[in-house]
């Protein structure tokens, strides 16, 4: 007999497979919205089960649920990107794509359950180049004197947690509370692809939005 958590993960994977076709731009928007809603409801269940696993001290299951949740989050964001593109919201669409790429990376790091997500990762990097113009990325270099652990809140030097690794359903990261920005550079491979140059001057010196090509003052950067 299969363990309930295995059945839940299998059902999550089935939902993932069922939702994948809606990551195509041509799909009907109302079907895509339904798919987003279904994933959102399922993510709530994942959160509940993850909390339960954490309380039980079942770190492996909590990490597996973190992984599956990230994978579904990646698909959800990709469908959202399609809707935003259809709705003339290129900046929101870009941010959704970046979130989706980040989520699939997280899914693969969190647990071996999502080791097979390389195909989705490649797909997301491919659509970055097919659906959007080449971006100009900005990246920050900063200095800090002390970092804290996001898992146990102690000084990062003093605990055993390692940044980037999952612990009982959460990733460890260094929390930097006081930093001084040293430089901002234009780079090819930023950690955060959401940091992009948003406007550029045309030959008449008029500023244009780099994604929509509308004059910058007419572009609302999709912040609605």
């Amino acid at each position: 007999m299969t363990h309930p958590i295995e059945r839940f993960v299998t059902a999550s994977n089935e939902l993932l497979q069922r939702s994948m076709p809606f990551t195509m731009l041509c799909r009907d928007s109302s079907l895509q919205k339904d798919s987003i809603e279904e994933i959102k409801q399922w993510l709530k269940k994942i959160e509940t089960k993850k909390r339960e696993a954490k309380v039980r001290g079942d770190d492996d299951v909590a990490n597996m649920l973190l992984s599956v949740g990230c994978a579904l989050g990646a698909v959800l964001a990709c469908i959202q990107m399609c809707l935003q593109l259809k709705n003339d919201q290129p900046h929101d669409a870009w941010r959704s794509l970046v979130y989706s790429q980040h989520a699939v990376t997280s899914a693969m790091r969190a647990h071996r359950a999502c080791d097979n997500m390389a195909g989705l990762s490649e797909f997301l990097h491919e659509i970055e180049h097919q659906l959007f113009p080449p971006q100009v990325f900005a990246s920050v270099g900063a200095k800090f004197s002390r970092a804290f652990c996001s898992i146990c809140d102690s000084d990062y030097r003093d605990c055993n947690h390692i940044t980037g690794r999952p612990y009982a359903g959460d990733f460890c990261s260094m929390v930097i509370r006081n930093s001084v920005v040293e430089e901002v550079s234009i780079v090819e491979t930023p950690e955060d692809k959401a940091c992009i140059v948003v406007s550029t001057a045309d030959k008449n010196g008029r500023m244009l939005d780099r994604l929509s090509l509308l004059p910058s003052e007419d572009s609302n950067k999709d912040d609605d």
Partner: protein, 175 residues
């Protein structure tokens, strides 16, 4: 992949002048060691903090050359490239434990394999420096020099770096 080798300053003498005692098989040197007049000015990449823990997991004690409890400075770059610290392997430690370089670079490679999951292969870049000491003995003299290996490339290339370091260490011991 790119490996450059350069002659480096006398780390032992520099650390003494800064009042820092080199201890343990591996020490992470400040990025700006050659410019330092006091330890308070030292700057390390933030990866040094993580690497100390990773090496400790593999039972390799490691230290960071910096001021004790004082004003420390770490540099964080919001870039996909992993900027590793400057690792000093003391000659005596390598002689005592020839596997030290292999194990340490293996620890880094394992960590980075997870770190780069889901990142396109072309974007998986590592920058890291390794400093080793060289002791040359003749019948009448004994001279020490220090070399710095600067590595830029992917995770797999760390094996080539390891081979290059070990080859030069072996060349020294056979002289």
């Amino acid at each position: 992949m790119n490996i450059t080798v350069e002659e480096y300053l006398d780390v032992e003498a520099k650390s003494q002048s800064l009042g820092f005692e080199l201890r343990g098989p591996i020490c992470m040197l400040p990025n700006n060691l050659d410019e330092l007049s006091s330890l308070e000015e030292s700057i390390h990449f933030s990866s040094a903090l993580t690497l100390v823990k990773l090496l400790e997991e593999a039972s390799i004690p490691a230290s960071i050359m910096e001021a004790e409890g004082g004003d420390r400075k770490y540099l964080v770059q919001k870039n996909v490239t992993w900027y590793g610290p400057v690792l000093l392997f003391a000659a005596a430690e390598i002689a005592q434990n020839p596997q030290l370089v292999s194990i340490s670079l293996g620890v880094i490679a394992n960590y980075l394999t997870d770190y780069f999951k889901g990142i396109p292969i072309g974007e998986q870049q590592v920058e890291l420096s390794v400093v080793t000491e060289r002791l040359r003995k003749t019948k009448t003299t004994e001279t020490q020099s220090t070399r710095k290996f600067n590595y830029k490339g992917n995770v797999e290339g760390l094996r080539i770096l390891e081979e290059r370091i070990l080859k030069e260490c072996n060349d020294d011991s056979s002289n």
